[in-house]
Symmetry: C2
Subunit: 150 residues, 2 copies
Amino acid sequence: MRRAIALSLRNARGTGGGPFGAVVVHKGRVIGSGSNRVTTGCDPTAHAEIVAIRAACRRLRSFSLDGATIYSSCEPCPMCLAAILWARIDRLVFANTRADAARIGFDDAWFYRQVALPPGRRDLPTRRLLRGEAQQAFKAWAANPRKVAY
Amino acid sequence: MRRAIALSLRNARGTGGGPFGAVVVHKGRVIGSGSNRVTTGCDPTAHAEIVAIRAACRRLRSFSLDGATIYSSCEPCPMCLAAILWARIDRLVFANTRADAARIGFDDAWFYRQVALPPGRRDLPTRRLLRGEAQQAFKAWAANPRKVAY
């Protein structure tokens, strides 16, 4: 956790991006780490946890981080939490909270409330279209013997 | 939307990844598109929407997609929905639903339920550690005159 906090401090004091850092540990070794690169990388998905997960997956050459622990300097936002779940990470440890992040101007807590709403009740205008046509892909996937599940 | 569905079908019939496609449109032009590359790219964050958002941001050289619409062949999972919010995309249009995805074996609906729970009540073991030390980064960020908000 101290390594994740050090990454967050370096960003907070410079011009590197938001004040967040994360480290992925697997079998007692650090296999990936990252700091926020949203503004410097022109990538709104480049949160510290996402950067660390992608680095760890490259290292293991795997889309699964089963058995790993992620240390994040702040409670993950819904994007990063779901990424942790998709990566099949075993355990999450965090330091600052979503309320702490809200106090310095970040939207994590608000996004948690939005994500919990049904699509039609969010601030984001949302509609459904062409479900019948899109079902073809799901049927083709279900019938595809070469598919790789994840 | 038909372009997003075509991307999802190509994956569903081949070995390219999950049966999902997404397209970002800005000022009447397609500025980014993507299909799922989780298994082929060894990247659990490489959902179609994330791939499309990253491509669109590279195209605009911006971390904001303010004014854009995203078309996704399936309702975005919580990771992708929060990425859409962080990217400041204006509108979401989707075809298949999270329930459709659940029927062919994807965890989106379950992850929506997990994300809505307080950290201590999720299936993912979670704990807090060293918040006092991590607060230093948030204080440094708040005091940093060179920071770029997002």
